[in-house]
Amino acid sequence: MPKVTYIEYNGTEHVVDVPVGTSVMRGAVDNNIPGIDADCGGECACATCHVYIEPEWFAKTGARSSQEESMLSFAAVTQDNSRLSCQIEMTAELDGLVLRMPEGQH
């Protein structure tokens, strides 16, 4: 199963299996990894699953939709490599994905 490395703001790393077809947000929630709140449950309605994708992986995660773009533009401390993790679906090509969490989601 593909693996994803989630790095908390304090540097703690979590490497977990995320099944193909599952969102990167759910991978964190299902393993109780702190730092991703996901208030709306993956509807792209709240911007509380904001993550920074490691640059070498960013292009592989695909393009942001216009809804995601709007939500992100108001999230705390966005960067060029910001994504909402509920909008990234796990694929075999994303095996090894590394991402970092912002300081907070609210």
């Binding site: 929630v29 208030d39 449950g41 509807e43 709007s70 939500m71 533009s73 108001f74 609210h106």
Partner: protein
């Protein structure tokens, strides 16, 4: 924090309870945690029950808040199909429907809310449904399809979402509302009008300002709704969507302060310092609005789950959040930030005819109190931030869509 030997009991395995147990582990609680759920399912998401789940677009596992294995992985003693029947505060014990008694160091009550029912002749006929849990949604789903006709009593969020889903499934839908407009309790008239027209254009019928005399049946099954003007609205299913009341019986029986919801403070603590209450069952302070209120929403459940878990684990209290709500109907996304308490002026931004607009609610001094955004994510997100900052805004700037949301305060 080391607290082995002391147990946290959480009564109610909904969104609030299910989130609280996960956060307690994230925050380092190492002692025992028991989660008591009356339903046979592990904690699941309720919002899809009137939307994607009802339309058959989501499967069972996607509904779960976390996978079934999660609770064993996190050493959470999940007891399903089990009810708490009494709280003994002197002995710090919860008695369960299976006869067991669980001692607690801290108790979290997250019993949610119960749908209101009608006290009308025929209210107990077969085919008269409410919608709160997954079993309700399964019954409702079985009643919706081509050739079926549902009468929805109550034009609130649940009623309108079910109407949209019913149309998607090919059923006819009629909404019966006591007030002169839908969403009367929760949204402003511009929004009510927009949603009524949007639904009507998709085949939903409306009876506004109507009084219901009785539900009439044939062979024990509902066949129509009799209105006070004598007309019969024919249907084969009735959904009663007239709001919900806090499920506070356990708390009241245990002598905790209740007032249309279990009364809690800003850390979700009840009148007993060992007992917390979170989610739909609580009446909570709203620091931004200087009052207390009962909120029914997932973000509220999550915020209070954070408050209780932080208080129990000795972490700093999380900062207060702006209440928010969402509803999906057809291709519309409604997002509401804040509550229109003390608002004296509403300002429209954008054009309802274009399908994307927002209504800003201002207090007398111009402070932004709430934003209702229809398929307008920037207005929602920006509004939420400005509400938190108690930003004052000028109506003429809000109306000017050439000014970006971010620049509204200037």
């Amino acid at each position: 924090m080391t607290t082995d030997g002391s147990r946290i009991v959480v009564i109610g395995a909904g969104h609030a309870g299910g989130s609280a147990v996960a956060l307690l582990r994230q925050y380092g609680w190492s002692g025992a945690i028991a989660l008591i759920g009356a339903e046979p399912l592990p904690p699941y998401q309720r919002p899809p029950l009137s939307k994607a789940w009802l339309k058959g677009e989501a499967d069972g596992d996607s509904l779960l808040l976390r996978p079934a294995r999660f609770y064993a992985d996190q050493r959470i003693d999940l007891r399903l199909s089990t009810r708490a029947v009494a709280i003994d505060r002197a002995e710090r014990q919860v008695r369960l429907s299976d006869g067991a008694a669980l001692e607690y160091a801290h108790l979290i009550i997250s019993t949610g809310a119960r749908p209101r029912t009608l006290s009308l002749p025929g209210a107990d006929l077969r085919g008269v449904l409410t919608l709160r849990g997954a079993a309700d949604a399964d019954r409702l789903k079985a009643a919706l399809g081509p050739g079926r006709r549902i009468a929805i009593i109550g034009g609130g969020y649940i009623g309108l979402e079910v109407a949209a889903s019913a149309r998607a499934l090919g059923a006819e839908a009629v909404v019966l509302e006591r007030e002169e407009r839908v969403l009367a309790r929760v949204a402003c008239p511009v929004l009510s009008d927009f949603f009524t027209r949007y639904h009507a254009a998709r085949g939903v019928a409306f009876e506004l300002g109507c009084r219901i005399e009785a539900l009439e049946g044939r062979g024990g099954a509902v066949a129509g709704v009799r209105l006070s003007d004598g007309r019969l609205v024919a249907c084969d299913t009735v959904l009663v969507g007239v709001g919900a009341a806090a499920d506070e019986d356990l708390a009241r029986d245990a002598g905790l302060d209740c007032d249309g919801g279990i009364v809690v403070d800003g850390q979700a603590r009840t009148s007993d310092p060992a007992i917390f209450a979170i989610g739909d069952c609580t009446r909570r302070p709203l620091p931004l609005y200087g009052r207390s209120f009962r909120l029914e929403s997932v973000p509220n459940a999550l915020e209070q789950a954070k408050q209780a878990a932080a208080a129990i684990c000795g972490r700093p209290a999380p900062p207060p959040e702006v209440p928010w709500f969402w509803s999906d109907q057809y291709d519309i996304r409604l997002q509401i930030a804040g509550l229109p308490f003390d608002a004296t002026e509403t300002v429209l931004r954008g054009d309802p005819e274009a399908g994307s607009f927002a209504i800003f609610h201002l207090a007398a001094d111009g402070t932004l109190r709430a934003v209702e955004a229809v398929s307008a994510a920037p207005e929602f997100m920006g509004g939420k931030m400005m509400i938190a900052r108690r930003q004052r805004l000028l109506p003429e700037r809000i109306r000017d869509t050439a000014i970006s949301v971010k620049d509204l305060p200037a």
